[in-house]
Symmetry: C3
Subunit: 116 residues, 3 copies
């Protein structure tokens, strides 16, 4: 387990926002060193689009980050609301009952929160 | 007192943003269970519009959440800046001297922070 | 050292966003009292524009806040990406290797996080 733990939050559906969040994650891991930080991205609302299987311009980047231990979590409530299900999401994505609960729990466990 | 404590932050005036925040709060309480989480919404800047007495498309939703214990806090500095006063706000709303202080204090007390 | 410690985060380049963040910082210090709060602003992404030497409509305000102890931190990764260097930034600005690391470290040290 890393010395730092950081949960990122995305709830907007634009490609530029997804790009910014993924850049932030990469920069954090490059700077602190992969072994020194544990990272999760919680996507809810329109933000779940960033983790769609298709279309997804960041597919390769997400897959690479997942290989390096980044957790990608999508909100089930938001998926339902948008008529999506687990199969519509990229392989590394884990579905959580509610994105906001995940954000609350991780912070209660001492994770830092960053909302790009 | 609940096991989790979460303060939400709104500082934008659009109806879609207010809608997202209120949905987030409802989802959090539904998922964790009302008795397990304490929730506050701090509104500052243009975000105070979400708590106006009128016009307010979310009046019923806010009233219901307040009955279930959600605190609605509006920033006095922001109200002044916008030429509003306490009477312009919905009944459950409590005015705080500065929204940002409230966010700082709650986090210092261990509350999680979520900025939809 | 103050009783409260708060790190603000800006990653958007609009003047209105910079204005909001600086207002938030001023309100926080006015409300809690300068001696009771330690404040930093971390700028990354397009947010580093808020701390440019020129053009900068908030130059005087930033300079005054810096005199009152506010730390202004800009992300080196973001500067490089935008073709800027340290000399392009206002005098009080300190360059940090990665803005997100700074946000993670300060929260791990107990700072509150506010994202206007």
């Amino acid at each position: 387990m890393g010395r730092y733990r950081v949960v990122f939050h995305i709830d907007e559906g634009s490609i530029s926002r997804a790009n910014m969040v993924l850049h932030n994650i990469q920069n954090l891991m490059d700077d602190l060193g992969e072994g020194n930080v544990e990272v999760a991205l919680v996507a809810n609302g329109e933000g779940v689009k960033a983790l769609l299987r298709s279309p997804n311009v960041h597919k390769r980047q997400i897959s690479k980050l997942a290989e390096h231990g980044v957790q990608f979590l999508a909100c089930r409530n938001s998926l339902r609301f948008m008529g999506l299900d687990e199969d519509d999401m990229l392989d590394p994505v884990v579905i959580v009952p509610a994105g906001v609960s995940e954000l609350a729990k991780k912070q209660a466990d001492g994770w830092a929160y960053i909302r790009p």
